[in-house]
């Protein structure tokens, strides 16, 4: 498992799933559809991403396409990181 994926799974598990079995959450499961996050959850997620990776999430990037599954998040973070690397 990729490091980013593992970190994200752990965060989601500890902060949103609480007692739910995290292994049952697939990387394609929608946080919205599954009722895993509420409106505060989105902000918690963004805060986590910004605190743990050297990236800033722009307003226009606050979309389910970027943030709503583990896979989407991994892709989003990797893209942002590579953009950052290219700029450097």
């Amino acid at each position: 498992m990729k490091a980013i994926e593992q970190q994200l799974r752990q965060f989601v598990s500890e902060n949103f799933l609480f007692g739910e079995d995290a292994s049952r959450l697939s990387n394609q499961d929608s946080f919205l559809e599954g009722g895993i996050i509420d409106s505060t959850g989105v902000l918690e997620l963004v805060t986590f991403v910004e605190e743990n990776y050297p990236i800033r999430v722009e307003d226009r990037e606050l979309t389910p396409e970027n943030l709503d599954t583990i896979d989407n998040l991994v892709r989003f973070i990797e893209t942002k990181l590579s953009e950052l690397a290219n700029q450097a």
Binding site: F18, S39, V42
Partner: protein, 665 residues
């Protein structure tokens, strides 16, 4: 306003007077001014009194002229003066000038239909010695509480569950389905309570106990069927104002000083202003202020108090205050709660009591009756959007709804749409308005232990709510449907009980609510919905009639819901952590395992998040308060076989005076 308790014994072998007295001790806080019991071979009635009307003459239990009927009564029949006149003309003679006696004579005259003549807030039981029959009733909206249980050959009832738990045969266990209801609806669905085997008489219902058989029936229910000819806005304004004025006039009937709560919002400002029109006596007003600015409404409260020239008193409530009194609060709610909001009202009623005031008039009920809640607007926008699901503009209206919720304001359009998206299957649901709230609250069930989930099985509280809807429901306007759901469940189950009667009566304070006068309720129910919610302008008709009553700033300010700090009341913030021993004990993993209601690992994670100051979401906060309050209930009422009143500062020895003969009448 008082506390009542009683026992009916099917066999006629007498009732245990000592037990009845113990039951009264449990609710001594409700009636510090006196107490009394009546017993015969088949029944015993008990009463603790808070003297408000006919202070010298209103002792209870009270009997009729020939002592064949006895009543124990908690509450007020506000139109007792008019009823007394009517009944006198029909030949009844009164020995007091007390509303309690009116119940007896009205029962003689009209039988079990007597309650239809009452304008008030009541829970009472009439014992008919000749027929060996108990008749009990609870007011239309559920202002006053009435709990009961059948324990072997005995039927027992009381104002509070803690009295019933004094009975040696009372079960002490948490009802699993009630937990499902609570963690979906914020309240249980009566007759179910959180305690197995203990029932609540639903609002608007009466019951009899006779020959070992209990019969419960509904004598009133809200009807939102519109009249054939819709009133104009002028007619709605005129009618509402007249009724509100009269509802307030009746609620000022008291032989003791009446005060008022001021929240800083429209509703309580209107009721306080109406009171001032009737009386030259100085009015004392009471408010809760918060240390935390996001909850505080002090400037508005002061503005209204200064305008009305009231003697204004307030408390300044901190997070630590809430955490400190929370165990006592739960001893009074007798039900898990998902918000700490009742706690400041517990502190406020203490202030009222210290000031020597026994009665307060408040604006409670206006939001339910006149369409004030954001939930009603949210439902309207969701419907408006569902009609054109592709619209990008329509969901933006949602942001106008919750100006006081920064987390929601920070959402992107994409997420806003995702959160409030109307699922195709929800569009025709009769619970449409409440689906987001019920769905969000249901998420708390993830913390329930596996055993509880197994016990709950396929049961879903939402299905039960749906199965109980009146036949005409589908024909009502969508706002009316939402109002019905709110007035049937959250209002009696939480607002009027956990946040209302139980917090006020903890310190012997009686609340009175002009907006919940049944004439106001019935009039508003038949009003065109646009007079209540015009566009997204809530309580439009009330704002229109309030022009000469309240300051323009209060009339025009956006509605702010009454809220209090939740998780921070128990754990503080990262900068100022708080620590309460009971919180540590009750949320301890071993304790949770032994209790068997919640998943210890899940709660542990929630607690860790709270300790880090990261518990910011609505759902997480509700979960924490819900779990903690459930654990407190279990500790105080189930684990402990001790009398629940032990150690409470409000309990003092009860001096029970017997007013009835022990011999059979």
């Amino acid at each position: 306003m008082c506390g009542i308790a009683g026992i009916v014994n099917d066999t006629g072998s007498g009732v245990d007077t000592a037990l009845l007295e113990q039951m009264l001790v449990e609710i001594g806080h409700r009636g510090p001014d006196g107490s009394g019991v009546y017993t015969d071979s088949h029944a015993g009635l008990g009463h603790v009194r808070l003297s408000i009307i006919d202070v010298g003459g209103g002792r209870q239990p009270m009997h009729n002229e020939d002592q064949t009927l006895w009543v124990t009564f908690n509450g007020e029949i506000f139109n007792y003066v008019e009823l007394m006149d009517d009944l006198r003309q029909k030949g009844h003679r009164f020995g007091s000038r007390c509303d309690t006696e009116v119940i007896l004579h009205a029962y003689e005259e009209y039988g079990e239909d007597c309650v239809r003549h009452f304008n008030g807030q009541w829970a009472f039981a009439v014992w008919d010695c000749r027929r060996k029959k108990l008749f009990a009733s609870r007011d239309r909206m559920g202002v006053r509480p009435f709990f009961h249980a059948r324990l072997g050959r005995e039927f027992v009832f009381a104002s509070e569950i803690k009295s019933l738990l004094r009975h040696p045969a009372a079960p002490r266990a948490v009802d699993r389905l009630a937990l499902d209801q609570l963690f979906t609806l914020w309240t249980t669905i009566p007759p179910r309570t959180i305690f197995s085997g203990i029932q609540e008489l639903p609002p608007g219902c009466s019951m009899t106990v006779h020959d070992g058989t209990t019969r419960v029936w509904r004598y009133w229910s809200a009807d939102f069927t519109p009249p054939a000819v819709a009133p104009t806005i002028e007619e709605s304004m005129h009618g509402l104002r007249e009724l509100l004025v009269d509802a307030t006039r009746l609620r000022l009937r008291s032989d003791v000083k009446v005060g008022a709560y001021l929240s800083g919002g429209l509703d309580s400002s209107v009721t306080a202003a109406l009171i001032k029109r009737f009386t030259d006596a100085p009015l004392t007003t009471f408010s809760v202020g918060f240390e935390d600015a996001q909850f505080d409404e002090t400037p508005y409260q002061r503005e209204v108090a200064e305008l009305l020239r009231t003697d204004h008193q307030s408390i300044q409530c901190t997070s630590a205050d809430i955490g400190g009194v929370f165990p006592e609060v739960i001893r009074h709610t007798e039900k898990p709660i998902l918000r700490t909001a009742p706690a400041p009202l517990f502190l406020l009623s203490r202030l009222v009591h210290e000031q020597g005031v026994k009665v307060v008039i408040t604006g409670e009920g206006a939001d339910e009756v006149l369409g004030g809640y954001d939930l009603f607007k949210e439902a309207k926008i969701r419907r408006f959007w569902a009609a054109l699901p592709g619209s990008k503009i329509r969901p933006r209206l949602l942001k106008r709804l919750y100006p006081y919720m920064p987390n929601l304001q920070a959402q992107s359009d994409a997420y806003l749409q995702a959160f409030f998206h109307v699922r195709p299957q929800d569009r025709e649901s009769p619970l449409f308005s409440h689906i987001p709230r019920f769905d969000l609250t249901s998420k708390l069930k993830q913390f329930l232990a596996d055993d509880v989930r197994v016990a709950v099985g396929d049961y879903d509280a939402r299905d039960e709510v749906q199965s109980l809807l009146p036949a005409d429901f589908a024909n009502w306007d969508t706002l009316c449907q939402a109002q019905y759901l709110e007035a049937t469940h959250l209002l009696p189950g939480y607002i009027l009980s956990s946040q209302g009667d139980r917090m006020a009566m903890a310190h012997a304070v009686e609340g009175r609510f002009p907006f919940l006068d049944h004439r106001v309720v019935e009039f508003a129910a038949r009003m065109p919905p646009r007079h209540k919610l015009r566009g997204l302008n809530e309580k439009d008709v009330l704002k229109r009639i309030a022009t000469d009553l309240v300051p323009e700033s209060v009339r025009r300010r956006p509605k702010q819901p009454y809220r209090a700090p939740d998780a921070t009341s128990f754990f503080g913030t990262a900068d100022q952590p708080l620590r309460f021993n009971y919180v540590e004990d009750l949320l301890d993993t071993a304790r949770l395992s032994a209790g068997g209601l919640f998943q210890p690992a899940a709660v542990e994670r929630l607690v860790q998040k709270a300790r880090r100051g990261r518990l910011v979401g609505t759902k997480d906060n509700m979960a924490l308060v819900g779990i903690l309050s459930t654990q407190l209930l279990v500790e105080q009422f189930i684990d402990s076989r001790r009398p629940t009143s032990g150690g409470s500062s409000t309990t003092r020895p009860l001096n029970v005076a017997e007013v009835g003969a022990l011999a059979e009448v």
